[in-house]
């Protein structure tokens, strides 16, 4: 028998706020975290705006010792800050650095899409090319190994269950949450810290800029630059940060009297195989629809029961296709389509962290009963006009919201869909 799985802790560092209270306030008030980045102008990027968490040095000085900070690039800082927050939010204390205590029942699946590119670009490549590998010291490997973000967290918190990092481009964070759910369902762990982290670096973003998938038309209007579902959407805005959830067996949560934010009903992960219209960079629509339908089956619900969707919705040409796929997969029409919003309109697209950050938004929405406004789509895309009643542009109180779908789609034609349900004891 599979165990029921719930969310008992949230940790977030986003471009528009650190901590769940600040993040919730920013979502509700439509506060954008997109800013002009002078470095991107100097580097002649087409897109010169991005979503980058603020005040990180100050947060780090409060959270970490000098020794802990020796080997922390931006993605590891974001992952560590949000993992500590989720851990404490779930009711646990951070162990002393020299404690011998290991929590064998808690693990971590924290993914990243691109990884430690800042360390690679600023240290490994220049020092190696100069014949000075010795000068890299001992701190390079742990910052660029793909599992760097989860490895650091296990050391900070003394985690003794599975600790790993997944990577599947822009669906990384959502996949991590589902992989953690499976582990708890099968009784292999009581608790897992799960989500995604992505650093802030021109080296992470330059390849996307070269592909011309970033919006280069709004450098003088940062807060208007991320425009999911808009007729004037012209590419995504790069983002950074981390969103990490404490995922726990219902048995464990009830036993220790933990606050339960939401139940994870189920989900699905698949790949479109780069066929039937899919490619490295475009989704196979059949793959997307199967992923959503498999998630419904796994959760034991019908498409008609989904109250709200937090879309992948990046602000590229794919947004209308995505909504069409949701409609087909859920068996819904333009008239009875669920409420839908795009968190990326406020924070940009943080790649491997997106599914984690947006899942935090979803869990807050079902816990508190609201759907945050999706900004910058006042000029809805023509194909989305029939859905205008469902597209939430200004935050709505929704006490009736019970089931929230979250999906992420990524390069490689990969898909992940998770279903959150309001917890009712």
């Amino acid at each position: 028998m599979r165990k029921r799985v719930v969310v008992t802790g949230l940790g977030v560092i986003a471009p528009n706020g650190h901590g769940i209270e600040a993040f919730e306030t920013a979502l509700k008030n439509g506060e954008s975290g997109i800013r002009f980045i002078p470095e991107l102008e100097e580097l002649k990027f087409g897109c010169q705006v991005a979503g980058v968490p603020q005040g990180v040095d100050d947060i780090c000085s409060r959270y970490f010792t000098g020794e802990q900070l020796l080997a922390m690039n931006s993605s590891i800082k974001y992952a560590s800050i949000s993992a500590i927050d989720a851990w404490k939010d779930a009711g646990f204390e951070v162990p002393e650095d020299d404690s011998e205590q290991v929590d064998w029942d808690t693990g971590a699946i924290i993914g990243t899409g691109i990884g430690g590119m800042d360390t690679i670009g600023e240290k490994i490549v220049p020092l190696t090319n100069a014949g000075k590998t010795r000068r890299l010291g001992s701190t390079a490997v742990e910052q660029v190994m793909a599992s760097g973000v989860s490895a650091k967290v296990s050391g900070l918190l003394g985690l003794g269950n599975q600790v790993t990092s997944n990577s599947c481009a822009c669906s990384t964070g959502t996949e991590a949450i589902l992989d953690a759910m499976y582990r708890i369902r099968h009784g292999l762990a009581e608790r897992m810290l799960a989500g995604g982290a992505e650093g802030a670096s021109p080296y992470i973003w330059s390849g996307f800029d070269a592909m011309r998938v970033l919006n280069r038309t709004r450098n003088d209007e940062p807060v208007k630059a991320s425009r999911p579902m808009s007729a004037s959407a012209a590419g995504f805005i790069p983002g950074a940060g981390a969103g990490i959830l404490m995922i726990e067996s219902l048995d464990s949560a009830l036993e220790r009297g933990a606050r339960i934010y939401a139940e994870i009903m189920g989900g699905a992960i698949n790949c479109g195989g780069h066929r039937m219209g899919g490619s490295m960079t475009a989704p196979n629509p059949v793959g997307v629809q199967r992923c959503v339908q498999n998630a419904l089956t796994d959760a034991g619900i019908e498409g008609s029961q989904v109250d709200a969707i937090n879309g992948h919705l990046t602000a590229t040409f794919a947004d209308p296709y995505e909504i069409n796929n949701w409609a087909k997969a859920l068996g819904r029409t333009e008239q009875d389509f669920p409420l839908i919003n795009a968190t990326k309109s406020l924070i940009g697209h943080s790649l491997g962290a997106a599914g984690g950050l947006e899942s935090i938004a979803c869990v807050l929405q079902v816990y508190k009963g609201f759907v945050h406004g999706s900004v910058n789509c006042e000029d809805l895309h023509a194909e989305l006009l029939p859905y205008s009643n469902s597209i939430v542009q200004k935050t709505r109180e929704t006490p009736e919201l019970k089931i929230q779908a979250k999906a992420s789609f990524g390069f490689g034609d990969v898909n992940a869909c998770v279903l959150y349900k309001k917890w009712q004891a």
Binding site: G66, E67, L70, D97, D98, R135, G137, S138
Partner: protein, 81 residues
């Protein structure tokens, strides 16, 4: 530079890498860098790089491998400056 000055600079360097707060009065020439100061063994290569930068010396791999106590570091540096 006197031996005492070298000793103090080495303790400053080690402070960056220790998981515990280092108090000068508790450190002697016999203090073990890894065991007593709770420094991760991987960080020894960083400590040696700091020795090179702070004292403007070069430390080869064999010399680096010989550093186990604070005194080993002091003696190595005194021999090179």
């Amino acid at each position: 530079m006197t031996k005492d000055e070298v000793f103090k600079k080495i303790v400053d360097i080690l402070g960056k890498y220790s998981k515990t707060e280092i108090k000068m009065e508790n450190i002697s020439m016999e203090t073990s860098i890894l065991d007593d100061l709770k420094i991760n063994s991987a960080r020894l290569v960083d400590i040696v790089l700091d020795f090179e930068d702070v004292f403007d010396i070069e430390v080869d791999d064999d010399d680096a491998d010989s550093v186990a106590t604070v005194g080993d570091g002091v003696n190595l540096i005194m021999a090179k400056i």
